[in-house]
Subunit: 159 residues, 2 copies
């Protein structure tokens, strides 16, 4: 797998059309590899990245949240959230509770088992963050954050 990815990179390496293009592609490629590492870790606990994210949100909030509120806090587009919650519920990691005041609303709560699964992942996740960004010095980390935010601002402007 490692050899394969390396090979891909080499084949792709041809002169870039602009420095900006090089940076964008570099960003996408790096991100891809980072995501792969996290996905692999989550999979060891039978979670997908999206599922892990939702559990994190619920634990962070400390109380049940309406489904659309969860969707708002993830990158997940609304219709996708339904099936995502379905599967988490089926796995016993969350629970659905219909709101009595407003019966359109569905609250989602993390279960004990969900909390347990999350807590098992806490250390490895933090370790992976550190391992990925480990080669960067504190100053470099700060630089990277600043540059990324600058890019992000440019995407925010015109939607």
């Amino acid at each position: 797998m490692s050899a394969k990815r390396l090979q891909k990179e080499l084949k792709k390496r041809r002169p870039f059309e602009s420095a900006e293009q090089e940076a964008t592609l570099n960003l996408l490629r790096t991100c891809d590899q980072v995501q792969i590492r996290f996905a692999r870790l989550f999979r060891q606990h039978d979670l997908t990245p999206s599922q892990y994210n939702i559990l994190r949100i619920l634990r962070g909030e400390g109380k049940p949240l309406p489904i659309l509120e969860i969707a708002d806090r993830t990158v997940t587009i609304v219709p996708g959230i339904t099936g995502l919650i379905d599967r988490l519920e089926q796995a016993g990691l969350v629970r659905r509770d219909r709101c009595l005041q407003d019966r359109r609303v569905v609250y989602v709560a993390i279960t004990e088992q969900g909390t347990k699964t999350l807590s098992e992942l806490d250390k490895p996740v933090l370790a992976l963050h550190k391992s990925l960004m480990g080669p960067l010095s504190p100053i470099e980390l700060k630089d990277l954050n600043r540059l990324l935010e600058k890019v992000r601002e440019s995407t925010a402007e015109n939607s």
Copy 2:
């Protein structure tokens, strides 16, 4: 859409557990936004990012390529490539040719229509690259590339 994303960001903003975590999340979020922008552009020409990528590879090579060779050069995992080529073929953007020497091999060639679609995208794509990375000075671009590569090295090691 823009307001919604901004809202998400604000809600997410709580103290990070480590500077490394902050950098990783920053990286993922930035990347997400960049991908959204490109996906939106490709969709205007009825292409998905994966499809665009494959067309680029074929045009860059200048001659037909075996299916698995294409898969190697993208991030696409092997089984997914079949359907991807199916849809491109159905849209008339590529053509399948079975190799006569080795009948296991299927060559894929870009069609005239595929080339045309690609060329229509050339300018907007380059413009988007420039627009996304525009806020960064040449020196900052270089810095960003260096930092990203450093991160990428760390993922390559024990992958």
